[in-house]
Amino acid sequence: MTTKEATFEYLLRLGDNALILGHRLSEWCGHGPVLEQDIAMTNIALDQVGQARSLLQYAAQIEGEGRTEDQLAYTRDVMQFRNLLLVEQPNENFAHTIVRQFFFDAFNFPLYQGLARSKDEHLKAIAEKSLKEITYHLRYSSEWVIRLGDGTPESHKKMQDAVDELIIYTGELTTADEVDLMMAEAGIAPALEQVHTAFDERLNAVLQEATLNRPKPSYMQSGGKDGRMHTEYLGYILAELQFVQRAYPNMEW
């Protein structure tokens, strides 16, 4: 794999994470537990889909085959997506949604801090712009993890269940594979060990304050970012996301 190919793969990963998680959050629109949280989640979704646009545009540019952000978002199928397994997990309930968000933000924040120092100027610019948004996302999700973990016995249980279920998807976030290593080598992305340290500390700090237990799972799931084996959820996400473009191809919207 050349550095250019690896960069394309990497940008797809970043873009698909933002797109799929933003899409998942947007499913809450009009159904949130409180008006203010409906607004907050919609706001985060908005930021993420905006980030996805920038990243997929740049990915298309790097690929150099004349594809657009929309072609990447709307005409790839499951086996070609490169998002983490974590972000395709279903909303389930507000606890699951908040825990999924927190796990992602706790990883994404140090990642983007590193990307804001990227040797790739274009990616650096995207990261600098996104960092403000991601800083807010992390604060929001951390606060809610604490609020719900240390709220009522019912909220505590729902949160602990969500943590126990989603923890097995966190390993993939910070386990480096060939693409990650090439990106770190080229100074395009930070080394995942550093991201992991920050992620790890953040998890410990927030879960502790939330009076939640941090499970030590015997294994971690993977197969999302390398596209090897997504979950059965992704196909349904894409069926909705892509339907209009698939049914009415090659038109302007």
């Binding site: 159904h31 409180v34 009522t152 038109m251």
Partner: protein
């Protein structure tokens, strides 16, 4: 009888209104004025909230990332409008929780337009163009409403809603200039949203019981029919520019008056939908009820946590004092 020296508090209030003075929360106001404003403002707030549903219905299927972002932003704005409006209602002594309870039990009303389903992507264009267009027609005069908090909320809402309307029109334009299939999709959406949009202006003036008093109190500046006529006059040329046909065989421009004459609204349908018998009334309420019920544990937890924090702070402060 002529009583030049009679200055009851009601008279003073009306004089202030007539002088175009703003009534603020701490001012005296007739109970009926307060009640009618609570009703109108809360209905407006409920409309923004319920309105998130038909539009939110197409976020996951928006056909381009740019449209997805724009629709997310629009729906977020609407939720924000709901917040301002509930706050405005609260300045009159209403409680948001009670208002929300009235919404989900079906006691409170919201704009009937949101009881229609969004069936294609073109519906999103039609809603922005027609529904926001009609809403703006209603709301611009409200920026000069006699009640301060409501007027100020309307200024903020109108600014954002104008942008939404232009975006909706731009969606329609893209479709109308697109393929034959897209143009047909746009025409079909116009066919389904035209009459319900006209219904947004309410019953004919003769049948509108609230209007007279609302106009006397300068809550309302124009009558239903005046606003409806203005909307038709502005919108029909926009449809023509799109190359689409307004689904009204009676529509014709009266060269003398400069106004468009249009057909009779199906008042049976209007009252049915108001009564709760429209296509989506039950689904809308069910969705809001479900969100409320399933969110109870979240709201309870937030309260419990806030209480714990408060107690910890007190305890910490007490310790500091002792020490």
């Amino acid at each position: 009888m002529d009583q030049p020296t009679n200055h009851t508090i009601e008279d003073q209030f009306q004089a202030r209104i007539d002088a175009e003075e703003r009534i603020e929360p701490k001012d005296w106001m007739p109970e009926a004025y307060r009640k009618t404003l609570i009703r109108q403002i809360s209905q407006h707030a409920h409309s923004e909230i319920v309105g998130m549903l038909p539009e939110g219905n197409w976020i996951t299927r928006a056909p381009s990332l740019r449209r997805k972002v724009a629709l997310l932003a629009k729906v977020q704005d609407e939720a924000g409008h709901g917040l301002y409006l509930y706050s405005a209602a609260e300045t009159l002594g209403a409680e948001r929780d009670e208002l929300l309870e009235e919404l989900i039990t079906g006691k409170a009303k919201y704009s009937s337009i949101f009881n229609y389903p969004t069936l294609t992507w073109a519906d999103i264009g039609a809603i922005g163009w027609l529904v926001d267009g009609a809403a703006i027609m209603n709301q611009v005069p409200l920026c000069r409403c006699s009640y301060g908090p409501y007027a100020r909320a309307m200024v903020r809402v109108c600014k954002e809603e104008s942008f939404h309307q232009r975006q909706g029109y731009e969606i329609m334009l893209t479709l109308a200039r697109g393929t034959a299939t897209q143009k047909q999709m746009a025409q079909d959406a116009l066919n389904r949203w035209w009459w319900p949009s006209l219904m947004m202006f309410g019953p004919n003036d003769a049948d509108s019981k609230h209007t007279a008093q609302s106009m006397a109190w300068k809550i309302k500046r124009f009558t239903n029919d005046e606003l409806r006529q203005r909307f038709v006059d502005i919108t029909v040329p926009q449809a023509e520019f799109l190359g689409l046909t307004v689904p009204d065989p009676s529509l014709r421009l009266n060269e003398e008056t400069g106004h468009y004459e249009f057909g009779e609204i199906n008042w049976d349908e209007f009252w049915q939908v108001v009564k709760g018998e429209g296509p989506c009334n039950r689904q809308r309420l069910k969705a809001r009820r479900k969100a409320h019920e399933e969110g109870a544990w979240v709201r309870d937890a937030a309260l419990a946590y806030a209480e714990k924090r408060r107690k910890r702070k007190e305890a910490a402060a007490a310790k500091t004092q002792v020490a």
